[in-house]
Amino acid sequence: MFELLGIPPQALFGQLLLGLINGSFYAILSLGLAVIFGLLNIINFAHGAQYMLGAFVAWMLLNYLGIGYWWALLLVPIAVGAFGIVLERLMISRLYHLDHLYGLLLTFGLALIIQGLLRNQYGISGLPYSIPPQLAGGQNLGFMFLPNYRGWVVVASLFVCIATWFVIEKTRLGAYLRAATENPTLVGAFGINVPRMITLTYGFGVALAAFAGVLAAPVYSVNPNMGADLIIVVFAVVVIGGMGSILGSIVTGFGLGLVEGLTKVFYPEASSVVIFVIMAIVLLVKPAGLFGRTA
C-alpha cells in the first residue's frame, strides 16, 4: 500500500469521509439557517433543537408506532416543519418589527425548553437508532472501507442541498423568495402574500433541520444535546460562508467538514478549533463572509 505524507490511506480517507459526513450536516443546517435569516431576518437559535427533535421524532415513530426509517425520512420533516409553522405564527411573527436580538433570544429560549423537556424524559445517555437493513454493510473500495449508510448520508444531503438551491435560484417560487428577501414591501404591493411566504419559509427551514436529524439518528446516538453541540459549529459555518448566501452555506458546509477531517489526520490537536480559527480569519479579512454581499 502507498502512503501519503506518512499517513496510511485508510486513515486519510477514513477521516475525509468522516469530514464529509459532518460537512453534510453542516451544509443542510447552515442552508436552513441561511434561508430563514434571508427572509425573516431572524437568527434561528432553535435550529439545533429542531435538528435534535427530528432525530427524536424518528426514534419515537419507530419505538412507539413501529414506523421505520424510510417513512420517518418523509414524515418527520413534515411534522417538525408544521411545529415550526405554529411557532412562527404564534410567537416569532410578533417580533419582526423589533431588533434582531429579540428573535435570537426567543428562539434560544425555545431551544432550551425543547432540550430540557426531552432531557427530563429520556436522559442524556443517548438512545440507539439502528441503520435501516437496506443500508447495512459497506463496500471495500480498495483504498478504504465505505459503510453504505455513510455514503447514503452524503448523497442524500447533497441531493437535498442542490434541490433547495435549484428551487431558490432557478424557479418562479424562488424568484418570489429572493425578491421578498430584498424588498418585502414592494413584493406585497404586487399582490403577493408575503406573511404567508415567511411562515412557509420558516417551516421549510425547520423541516430541513429535522431531515438532517433523521439522517443523523443512525450515525450519532439520539441525544437531547446533539443539536446544541452541533449548532455552535454550524453558526461558525454560516459566518464563514456569509449570512443569507444559499450557495455559500452549502459549499462552506461541505468544505469545512473536509478541512476538519484533514486536520484530524495531520494535526489532531487542532481539529476541534480549526473551524473557529478560520471564522476569526474570515471575519478579519472579509467580514461579510466568503460568499456574502456587503449590504
Binding site: N183, G188, F190, G191
Partner: protein, 246 residues
C-alpha cells in the same frame, strides 16, 4: 380635435374610478398628509404636481396601502380600500411603480419582468411589452440592476403592465433620465392611455407632465390645493410656476 373632445366628454360623464377623500398619513410620529382629496376618472391621466416633500409619493403609497398609519377614504370602483393591506389593493387592479424603481438585484431582467402575478385578466403579453420597450428583450438574462437607469424604468413600468391592473400609479418615472428616454416614457404613457389605462403620475417635471396629462392636481404641505385641467394650462402658467417655485 373632435375625437379628443368626445373622449373628454365621455370621461367627464363617467363616474370617477378612484376617489381619494381627506386622506391623512403619518411616518411614525410625523403627520405628512393632512387631508388629500382628489378623484380620477376612467381612462384619464392625472398628475400630482408639487415641490419636494409636499406629500406626492406619500399619497401614492397611502393609496397602495404601503403606509400602515393612515386615515380618510380611498375608494376604487366604488370599493373602500382604506383598511386593506397592500396585497389586496394590488389584487383589486391597482399597480404601483415606485420612485426608486424597485428593480430586484438578485433577479434577472426576465425574473423581474415576470415577478408581479396576474391579478386581472387582459394584461399585456410579454411580446407586447417588448414592443413598447425593445431594449428589454436584448437583456433578459442580465442581472436586473445591471441595466441603465432608463432601462430599469422601462422594466419597472413593463412588469406592471402584465398584471392586468388597469390603474397605474407611477412615481416620478422621468427622474434622472436623459431627454431622449423621457420622450420614450412620454410616448409610452400616451400609448397606455390609448389602450384604456388610467394613470396617476407623480411629477416634478412640469413640462413633461403637460405633454401627457388631462388634469393636474397641485399638492402642497400634505393637501391638494388646486386642480388645473391641461386645456387651461396656458392661462394658469403663472399660478403653477408660483406653486412649484420655479
Amino acid at each position: 380635435m373632435a375625437e379628443a373632445a368626445v373622449a373628454m366628454k365621455t370621461a367627464a360623464a363617467s363616474a370617477p374610478l378612484l376617489v381619494v377623500k381627506d386622506l391623512q398619513a403619518w411616518y411614525g410620529e410625523s403627520h405628512v398628509l393632512h387631508g388629500v382629496t382628489f378623484d380620477v376618472r376612467p381612462g384619464e391621466v392625472v398628475t400630482l404636481l408639487g415641490r419636494n416633500g409636499a406629500g406626492k409619493t406619500t399619497t401614492l403609497k397611502s393609496i397602495m396601502g404601503i403606509l400602515p398609519k393612515r386615515k380618510g377614504s380611498v375608494t376604487f370602483q366604488g370599493k373602500e380600500l382604506m383598511h386593506a393591506p397592500a396585497r389586496y389593493v394590488a389584487r383589486e387592479g391597482i399597480a404601483f411603480c415606485p420612485e426608486e424603481r424597485g428593480i430586484f438585484s438578485s433577479l434577472s431582467v426576465e425574473e423581474n419582468l415576470l415577478l408581479p402575478p396576474q391579478v386581472k385578466p387582459g394584461g399585456m403579453s410579454v411580446e407586447q411589452i417588448f414592443e413598447l420597450f425593445p431594449n428589454l428583450k436584448e437583456r433578459l438574462s442580465s442581472q436586473g440592476t445591471k441595466l441603465s437607469g432608463g432601462e430599469q424604468q422601462m422594466l419597472a413600468i413593463g412588469r406592471i403592465l402584465r398584471t392586468g391592473a388597469k390603474m397605474l400609479l407611477l412615481d416620478e418615472p422621468t427622474e434622472g433620465l436623459a431627454p431622449v428616454i423621457i420622450q420614450q416614457i412620454g410616448a409610452t404613457i400616451a400609448r397606455l392611455k390609448q389602450e384604456g389605462f388610467t394613470i396617476v403620475l407623480v411629477e416634478q417635471n412640469f413640462r413633461f407632465a403637460s405633454t401627457v396629462a388631462d388634469r393636474h392636481y397641485v399638492v402642497e404641505q400634505g393637501r391638494v390645493i388646486d386642480m388645473i385641467p391641461n386645456a387651461e394650462l396656458e392661462e394658469n402658467i403663472g399660478k403653477i410656476e408660483a406653486y412649484l417655485g420655479v
